[in-house]
């Protein structure tokens, strides 16, 4: 294919001299890429642009995100996948695979030695300081024995092609490597959106690797080998790769837990579930070493489990990778790796590394200090970008400071040669551009060797001539193909679809943290829906009021404004101090109640609380739900941008949000099984709706109004409750208070009546796991039964009674007040019995050491 005439390549050439994956120096094309390029060319630029958009859309829709801390654009960034994959031919890959396997074997041996006999140090193969001065060397983990043949169960390496055309190792990732899930989702998305690009190309599939990955987890169990309980430990939704934790949990079918869900008792690790404690055998962790046990490691960690290390010492649980493996993420080892390889395996390293000098040796240190401008300096135990010094870009003062730092603790520094890694084509604005790439590979322990994922995750530098490749800065990724000449089986559909996967078999085993989030999801959703409908009703009345000057109309509006404050508990608002002013411009207050996220009780705040519990439950939700939810967020954002807060626009926004909330609630019911936790969601939802019904009735119908006003108020109540049609159907009459009370509060058949809701809560609470030892009712059962008896005992005649001065229906008010109290007590009892997070983890002595 002539390069010059291909429009895709029009922007590919520049003065930027570099090794390119596709274009050889004589301007011919690397034959391995020919088919891919011709597939891309055939599709045409317009089509490719459309496909790139579709991928972006798919990633967005599927909620594939990468959180960037302190990102002003918001927490969850969409994951970027470029439609042009990166590829390596099978022939070359065989060597790379051997090199990765060798490296994983080697790091495993180093890990065992460091925390075991330390022969490498004793025999002078590696200097003591490289290990002992590395903050990842955890003395608490010394001499721990493991039952698995390999101690390092997952190894991940960042590879890049060096100037000699070979793949070089840049970094090792050994604690809790990320990227496997993203790699899988990349493959899935690309094959879904761009099947054509795979045409006539044989790409190796990772299905076997993931099967083996699962086997590795199962076999790691030190006991209960037949049916081990495996969990995935995440730092939580704020973590940058939380999407992937949830994705893997869903894909593998294991519960996703946080430190708070686990506890150490009787020398074992347990997961807190709704019913009881359930022993955990294997933890696939995404929490870094030092955060794993606040008793023995970092005191300020809330991400781990106190006492965990001793359970590991006693071989009652397996952690993957073992705690302490972070010491291998150590650039100080690089200069000694070949010697170590010869020491253990009697052979040289297969994969080259960047030339490195450890400053703990005098000669090397002198060399480094004399050639600083040509070198890249790193701390041995920090590989994040903030701790890498590209000396050529430093000014004289910064160089002096760095020199002083090196001289103070030379053993903490390593200097590396500047290397220009290869570029590969990236599809950018309709054309291909060369970009630096970095390949993350994954190896897992299998029997006595390692199994390597065919391919992996490829990350691309954000700008054309950028030196750095990192996701933390919001980079782009690529699918990573290993192409072969042999035909491959079809791409399997790795759809992330939680509807067909039941990760938790029984409600008894539901982690209590998940249960709590489900319960609150129900409550927030219920509150959001009731609040939105109520605000919409009031806004509609305001709209009508503009054309209607009836006295009762304006009077009833004032009552409605005041009821908003009561129902949402946003005092003083329309009722407290300063309410005259607020009543003069009611729209302003209503806008604040809708839009002000910082205001407790506002619609915006309810939505944002829901957002939090929703995101913590990531692994349970389906794609459709994500889509609907994301739709709500986009509507909201757009509305804020447009900045038109007229009554009509507010009503339109609420209309749209209400429809989506209802769609969302419908999806929840069909996506999660009752035993998977839907029960908790229902209890939360019904409890909130019942509570809001009581609040509405208390602020609207306990006072005695004159007839016209009464009529307006009743109509408003029924409208906000979406019950006007049902009322008309049931009573075919003028609105009357006794009928409204019968319908909204006492009707036993009507799904929106309080009586029905309370009965439903009672039924659901009875289905929760109850401890066998308590013969009596649990506290929450007791309170909800009391509420049910209360509402069944109410008589309409007594409720309608007005007190002596004719202003108030005292019996009605008293009944509603006591129901409200009982619902509140029920909710508290549920929290106490099932969520048990009321006790916080604390240090006996608050040491607060500066450990950073």
């Amino acid at each position: 294919m002539p390069i010059g005439s291909n429009t895709l390549f029009q922007n590919y050439f520049s003065d930027f001299k570099n090794y390119d994956e596709v274009l050889k120096s004589n301007m011919s094309i690397n034959p391995n890429w020919e088919k891919l390029l011709s597939n891309l060319t055939q599709m045409g630029t317009d089509n490719l642009l459309a496909k790139q958009n579709e991928i972006n859309w798919l990633m967005d829709e599927n909620g594939v995100t990468y959180n960037v801390y302190n990102d002003p654009k918001g927490m969850q960034r969409s994951w970027n996948l470029n439609i042009v994959p990166f590829l390596i031919h099978q022939k070359e890959w065989e060597t790379v695979k051997k090199g990765i396997t060798q490296r994983a074997e080697l790091l495993d041996l180093i890990l065992k030695d460091i925390y075991g006999k330390r022969e490498l140090i004793k025999n002078g193969i590696i200097p003591q300081e490289v290990i002992f001065a590395h903050r990842g060397f955890l003395r608490q983990c010394d001499q721990i024995q493991y039952k698995t043949a390999k101690n390092l169960l997952i190894h991940s390496a960042d590879l890049a092609r060096g100037p000699d055309g070979r793949m070089w190792v840049v970094n090792d990732r050994t604690q809790a490597p990320s990227g496997m899930g993203y790699a899988l989702e990349n493959r899935y998305s690309l094959s879904r959106v761009l099947p054509n690009v795979f045409q006539d190309i044989n790409v190796k599939q990772p299905s076997k690797f993931f099967y083996e990955f699962n086997q590795m987890l199962i076999e790691a169990a030190p006991q209960n080998k037949n049916n081990p309980n495996i969990v995935i430990l995440t730092p939580g939704p704020l973590n940058e790769t939380y999407f992937e934790h949830a994705y893997m949990a869903s894909f593998l079918g294991y519960p996703l837990v946080t430190g708070n869900d686990l506890v150490v008792r009787n020398g074992k690790l347990w997961m807190k579930t709704l019913k009881e404690l359930k022993q955990v055998d294997v933890v696939l962790r995404r929490v870094d070493d030092v955060f794993m046990d606040p008793l023995e490691l970092r005191e300020d960690s809330y991400l781990g489990v106190a006492g965990l290390l001793d359970v590991i010492r006693e071989q009652k649980v397996a952690i993957i990778n073992p705690i302490g493996s972070g010491v291998l993420e150590n650039s100080g080892l690089i200069p000694f790796m070949n010697a170590i390889c010869n020491y253990f395996l009697k052979e040289d390293l297969i994969l080259p590394q960047i030339a490195s000098w450890w400053c703990g040796q005098e000669k090397e240190c002198d060399y480094v200090l004399n050639h600083l401008n040509d070198l890249v300096v790193k701390r041995i135990d920090r590989s994040n970008r903030e701790n890498i010094f590209f000396c050529e870009f430093l000014d004289a003062k910064a160089i002096e400071t760095l020199k002083k730092e090196i001289l103070a603790t030379p053993y903490k520094f390593v200097a590396q040669e500047k290397i220009s890694f290869s570029t590969a084509p990236d599809f950018i604005e309709g054309a291909l551009e060369p970009r630096k790439v970095m390949c993350r590979t994954f190896a897992i322990a299998r029997n006595d060797t390692y199994s390597v994922m065919p391919g992996g995750l490829v990350r691309v530098a954000a700008e054309r001539e950028n030196l750095f490749v990192s996701n933390q800065r919001g980079g782009v990724s690529k699918d990573f193909w290993i192409v072969t000449d042999d035909p491959q089986t079809n791409i399997q559909n790795y759809s992330w679809d939680s509807t067909c996967r039941i990760s938790i078999s029984d409600i008894n085993d539901l982690p209590s943290n998940t249960a709590e989030n489900l319960y609150w999801s129900g409550r927030y959703l219920g509150r959001a829906l009731v609040t939105a409908r109520y605000l919409r009703m009031v806004l509609n009345r305001m709209n009508q009021g503009q054309y209607n000057n009836r006295k009762s109309e304006s009077k009833s509006l004032v009552f409605l404004y005041q009821s908003i404050t009561n129902i949402t508990s946003t005092f003083p608002g329309f009722v407290g101090e300063g309410s005259e002013d607020i009543l003069r411009n009611p729209l302003k207050e209503i806008i604040s109640l809708m839009m002000d996220e910082k205001r407790s009780g506002s619609f915006a705040q309810t939505m944002s609380s829901f957002n939090n519990s929703y995101y913590s439950l990531r692994s349970l939700w389906s794609k459709d739900m994500w889509r609907v939810f994301d739709g709500i967020k986009k509507l909201w954002r757009k509305f804020k941008e447009d900045d038109d807060y007229s009554i009509a626009e507010l009503i339109k926004l609420l209309d749209r949000i209400i429809t989506r909330l209802i769609a969302f609630m419908g999806l929840i019911e069909e996506s999660i099984l009752v035993n998977q936790g839907l029960l908790l969601y229902f209890i939360g939802l019904q409890t909130e709706q019942a509570t809001m019904t009581v609040a509405k009735c208390r602020s609207l119908i306990v006072f005695n109004y004159e007839e016209n006003l009464q009529y307006d108020i009743l109509e408003s109540l029924l409208t906000s409750h979406e019950s006007l049609n049902i009322y008309r159907y049931s009573y075919r009459s003028h609105l009357s208070l006794d009928n409204v009370i019968n319908l909204i509060l006492l009707d036993k058949e009507y799904g929106k009546s309080l009586s029905y809701q309370i009965k439903r809560i009672q039924k659901d609470i009875n289905r929760l796991p109850h401890s066998e030892t308590t013969l009596n009712f649990s506290t929450c059962q007791k309170y909800i039964a009391e509420a049910n008896n209360k509402i069944e005992s109410l008589s309409i005649t007594s409720l309608l009674q007005v007190n002596d001065d004719g202003t108030l229906r005292e019996n009605l008010d008293e009944a509603l007040a006591s129901l409200s109290k009982l619902l509140h007590k029920t909710s508290l009892a549920i929290s106490d019995t099932y969520f048990n997070h009321s006790y916080q983890q604390k240090q006996l002595v608050n040491q607060n050491f500066p450990l950073a």
Partner: protein, 296 residues
Amino acid sequence: MIYQLSHTTSYNYQSGVTFCHNIATLKPKHMLGQTLVEYNLEISPKPTEISDKLDFFGNTVTRFSIQKYHKKLKVTAHSKIIRDSSLVPDIYDNFDGQRITLNQAVIALKQINPELLDIKQFVLESILIAKITPEIKAYAEVSFKPNRSIFEAAYELMQRIYNEFEFNTKVTNVATPIHDVIKEKKGVCQDFAQIAIACVRSVGLPARYVSGYIETLPPPGKVKLIGTDASHAWFSVYIPNFGWVDFDPTNNQIPKNQHIVVSYGRDYYDVPPLKGVIYSTGKNKMKVAVDIRPAL
């Protein structure tokens, strides 16, 4: 000397604790010159689980957990110890040890042999003694000079800290960084020990933290009150060709029979007498009482 020793730590929890995991490093060492005749650890309420293990530095750590609700935790270590420092080699009897200079020591430490490996880790930074500043190094270099005996220098360092730092229990706590202590020149035994260690390490020599007790004597004519002794800390410097030599900068002396050693570490962080994670909502109050008296 034979000592009867008790060390009680009690916590009162305002709103009770449902569950706790703890680690105690309280068992005095059994070693040359210090014989541990009796030892028992009394914990109330009775722990659900309890186990002893050696830590990385060879100290005995006791892990225990209490799984029932309690409002008070009381941990008492009782021990009977025979202390005879005359059994330990004395630096004053070792001419070579007394004379070895900083230059000679640094060269001697460059060898690679297994014995030195355990010792050389005490030259490196540790959790509480990190980022040693030029200020600390300058303080050290007043005493430590290339051609001066390191024993002399360490002795002088101890004296300078004793004279120039004010013993004051109000200004520091376990988390006070050494950089604040060197500026304020105030603190307690633990701060002085850590400052000294930072100084010794800044010139490239190994120094370790010693946690233990010191017997205090009542004023003449007064009866000794129970519980007035304290847990104590000092530092130890490694002198090549001789071994570790202890220095107590709080009392300006080389520890002998009045000092009882519990544990060695890089700094306080490695050897806190009692630490733990509790599950509770309220505040807690701690009380410590140490009593050392000659056994009858």
